[in-house]
Symmetry: C2
């Protein structure tokens, strides 16, 4: 069980933006800082913009910055917006899961409960709280 790389990288980028709210970052700078490909960062930034988590600005002085103060973004928001889906098993998704037990299966309820417990932990923590407890290298805040 893992989060998509897209979410992993999105969280890293949001932490960077949140730790340096007085400046904007280019996709190139974010890619260099995090050792990711430029194209990958562009795609992640697009998703973050689509989720209304960042704003992007063109031209001189342009770049990416948070769309909201880090105190108003929870880790749960980010994960639920960036993950393609949170369907732990096939029967959580749309369409036919092909499962002979679908409908009355008590396992689904157990898995839904586990997923809710996971989400509750993430919803309780803001990006600001995470940033405040993380010692950032100077390269990230400069």
């Amino acid at each position: 069980m893992q989060l998509n790389d897209h979410t992993d990288y999105g969280l890293r980028i949001l932490m960077t933006l949140g730790a340096s709210t007085t400046r904007r970052w280019s996709a190139r700078e974010l890619a260099d800082l995090h050792g990711l490909s430029f194209t990958h960062v562009q795609k992640v930034v697009q998703s973050l913009e689509g989720a209304n988590l960042v704003d992007t600005f063109r031209g001189r002085g342009g770049g990416v910055s948070l769309a909201l103060p880090p105190s108003e973004i929870t880790i749960g928001d980010v994960v639920s917006k960036l993950e393609t889906h949170m369907n732990l098993v096939r029967c959580f998704g749309p369409g036919d899961s092909g499962c002979a037990l679908e409908g009355g299966c008590a396992l689904a309820a157990v898995l839904y409960r586990a997923r809710a417990a996971f989400q509750t932990e993430l919803d309780a923590v803001t990006l600001e709280a995470v940033i405040n407890r993380t010692p950032f290298p100077a390269s990230l805040t400069g």
Copy 2:
């Protein structure tokens, strides 16, 4: 975020075996019942056997059955044994995650906590409890 299909199918197979502990099932029967390929079921059964959750018997009257009573298997056991890994993000895994924040990142602690909350819910429920609350089609218990 999702569990591997392998785990999804493993859970379905264990529920089947647990709902009919007086008989053994062939991989072919399990495949037909769950609409899965024979090869896929064979691989899942191999993993279940490797995890000491099922026993397999060859020859006449052979097949697969639970290695333990359903009351002694928790859903958490099954998930943690069948999932390849539970590394939510790259820095949970071995080797270099490439993350500029690795080491002091407070996000990792938040994600570990969410994963623990997920696992705690699954550890609290036995296969027996799930089976007792699931109305099985006659084809599964016959």
